[in-house]
Symmetry: none
């Protein structure tokens, strides 16, 4: 996979967050998914906040300095596209997107040197209508109809992951890693292993009636061929066949 | 869009969770995204747990009763496909999936009346190799290279959302056909087959030195778990093991 330089990501804005723990958890999870910039609107307990630091697992050291604003309006004033993340339906003429629908729109803004943001409301009350009205759209999660109660940091986790999933899925896909020291078995190695198995099974009287030999061996071949066996694994299987069949001889159970 | 009835969802298994708060947060977020069944393997602080209840926002009342097991093996024994959710790369022959790649595979198992699960490790140490070895694959998140530190409940949030996003975005398409007469083996059936194999290999002196038993059995487990064995194939393999080790009709070579 070609390395890509770290992409720009949307700004994350928490409006009137109450608990420092949630701010810290939000910082932690957003940084995992490549976000760099956190803004706070009037955090209830002020800023900085010890409880936020204790839940952040060191994320604040790896984010841009957190910026604090008095109003949501001020916090988003330099942004070009902002979506409000909210579960509640509002009587408001706003387009509503799933995370998977919203992220490409934000990415497009960023790709054109614009600035984008995701706005989250406070724990208890959620975003005010006035705040949602300032946004370009609403991002809503596909939650269960009978249980819709996401914690603030969980809501941030979902949006942050959805963003990252979008921008990484567009990257050239990485082939599944098979370490170089563990190459696939050749078809010949697999055939030889199966012949060894068939010969020992024959000797043990496994194929009965004998006419079923072909179909039974095909079943075993199918089973192993689904595994994409490595050469080492084929050697292991031959060791298993040898041990079981010779063990039988040596220990003379019959 | 046609309404679909509430779908079955994978079982969520937390191995050796330490903090009740994380169990409660995991329960809360999983229920938002339609999961119903939570299993715990040896929770450090026992069960039930007050701190879990206080963080769950009432989710436990809307989940099936939480089941507690002593071992991961027991917790997944009735499941047919289980993915380990872990950030760490392991020197292990397992397919690695993004959440978006993994969820369709679990959905397919559920669509054929099988049972599926997602396994999460404890906060500090993560899953043991032995636990990962029992799984059918690894689910890894596209986290930033320089900050990979998800909280347990955040990890659950991401997987739960990814599941929900998949099943809600995609209306039923024709599932890949796995004939009903050919159901997947349960983990218990596979474990029993592997125990049978281990016991016969032990008797045959295969494990030398004896300390290598665990890693050699893990290699075999990995190999077979990649095959998504059917119950019939497990029976065939047991016939193979029996025939090789005992012979049929007392054709023993000794």
């Amino acid at each position: 996979m070609k390395m890509h330089k770290e992409r720009k990501a949307p700004v994350l804005i928490l409006s009137h967050p109450q608990m420092g723990e949630n701010i810290g958890s939000a910082a932690r999870v957003m940084r995992n998914f490549g976000f760099r910039e956190l803004r706070l609107v009037s955090p209830r307990d002020g800023w900085p906040n010890e409880k936020a630091a204790s839940l952040a697992a060191g994320a604040f050291a790896k984010l841009a300095p957190v910026r604090v604003f008095n109003t949501t309006s001020a916090a988003i004033s330099d942004l070009h596209m902002v979506f409000a993340v909210t579960a509640r339906m509002r009587n408001m003429e706003k387009p509503v997107f799933s995370p998977a629908q919203a992220m490409p729109k934000l990415a497009e803004v960023l790709a054109h040197e614009g600035r984008a943001g995701l706005l989250f409301g406070p724990e208890a009350s959620g975003l005010e209508n006035e705040e949602v009205a300032r946004c370009d759209g609403i991002v809503t999660y596909p939650v269960a109809a009978d249980f819709c109660s996401l914690n603030l940091a969980q809501a941030v986790a979902v949006a942050a992951y959805a963003w990252r999933a979008f921008i990484t899925q567009k990257m050239p896909t990485e082939p599944e890693v098979r370490p170089d020291e563990n190459p696939l078995a050749s078809k010949l190695e697999i055939d030889n292993m199966l012949e060894h198995l068939q010969s020992e099974l024959s000797a043990a009287g496994f194929f009965f009636p004998v006419e079923k030999t072909t179909v039974m061996m095909q079943n075993l071949q199918n089973l192993f061929s689904r595994s994409s066996l490595s050469a080492q694994e084929v050697r292991t299987l031959r060791g298993v066949i040898k041990a079981l069949s010779q063990g039988r001889g040596k220990q003379g159970r019959s």
